[in-house]
Symmetry: C2
Subunit: 179 residues, 2 copies
DNA sequence: CCTGAAGACTTCAATACTAAAGTTCGATCC
DNA sequence: GGATCGAACTTTAGTATTGAAGTCTTCAGG
């Protein structure tokens, strides 16, 4: 009986059209594919970094510290902003990561309200290993696309990104008119 | 001091290249844009449904019940599988939603081990309202792309999706988040 | 029937997160 | 040069989720 598996994308879009008349199937196809793809990718990343003994949450922190460039230091507040977490959550996450030796947490000498989270060598090594696995996965993922297609895909995604960044929904739930 | 804001996509890719030599910038551009776009979209969806007084978590449940077609019924286990949650989490989520009147929870008459979660009229109405806002947002998002571009984008995304699904055939996995 | 096994959910204990209040330090004002 | 405000982080209380153990029902054998 319960062999109900997740519907395919096309089935899903057909179902939406049955339930919601004025739906543009082309738009829905793009949006649904985007969502599903991202979900699958996140699962894949999670599995990969788990092999290194870290969670995706920890991987995210390592990533942003590395992105900040040498000497790989950021404050908890800044990290929280970039990761989309509350500062409180960051406090605890850093606790765990410091206990595992991935980062250090110290008071700023010059301003003792501030805290400096710094990548350890071990943390940097973990990031490198994770990065190697991630890029291998990503290149494999894009393998079927030609160089031209990759370029076109990247450009279109960036155009969407710009639109979403410059036109966040306001309190009325609408996108602001841009032009 | 540090008014460090999140780096732009190009800055981020440049930073990656400094820290990790053999990186294909084109691949990274696609992947990073995908990730960012999805995050921004999820935040936007969350804000929108919050105006209706529901969380994105609840919206996801409504969505899958609607997608199942009339009479809009699914078991907790099936819902958990589709949403990428554990059955335990589903139990609690349904508790809340039943208390709010979005769904009903009843034992199956024919098999009293099973439970049937069914959409209420109120739940269906909420979904419709959310859907109206979501599709408006999505159409706005894609506004800058021509019909041909939308088609090309959708096709490429689906090719990536197939690749990722083939590469990791449902390994007992829970898939995170929405779609 | 009665027993054992499997399935579908629930309960329980522990973890991670959020919002809000609290703490501590630094900066500004007069 | 103290009083006050604000910034950066932590603590607290409450909620959502997970993994593991538990409950109840059905089904298949003996």
């Amino acid at each position: 009986m319960s062999d109900t598996q997740e519907p395919s994308l096309d089935e899903q879009i057909a179902a939406y059209q049955r339930e919601f008349r004025d739906l543009d199937p082309q738009v829905e196809k793009v949006v649904s594919a985007l969502g599903r793809l991202n979900r699958r990718m996140n699962v894949a990343y999670g599995r990969q970094v788990a092999e290194l003994g870290i969670s995706s949450a920890e991987w995210e922190v390592l990533k942003h510290l590395v992105l900040s460039g040498a000497p790989y230091r950021l404050g908890p507040g800044e990290l929280a902003k970039r990761l989309g977490l509350t500062p409180a959550a960051m406090t605890h996450r850093i606790d765990r990561m410091a206990a595992e030796g991935l980062v250090t947490r110290d008071r700023d000498e010059n301003n003792r309200v501030r805290v400096i989270v710094e990548l350890t060598d071990e943390g940097r090594t973990k990031w490198l290993e994770a990065m190697r696995m991630a890029t291998a996965f990503e290149e494999d993922l894009l393998q079927d696309l030609s160089t031209d297609e990759r370029g076109a895909l990247g450009d279109m995604l960036i155009r969407l990104l710009r639109r979403v960044e410059h036109a966040q929904p306001d309190a009325g739930g609408r996108l602001k008119d841009l032009d």
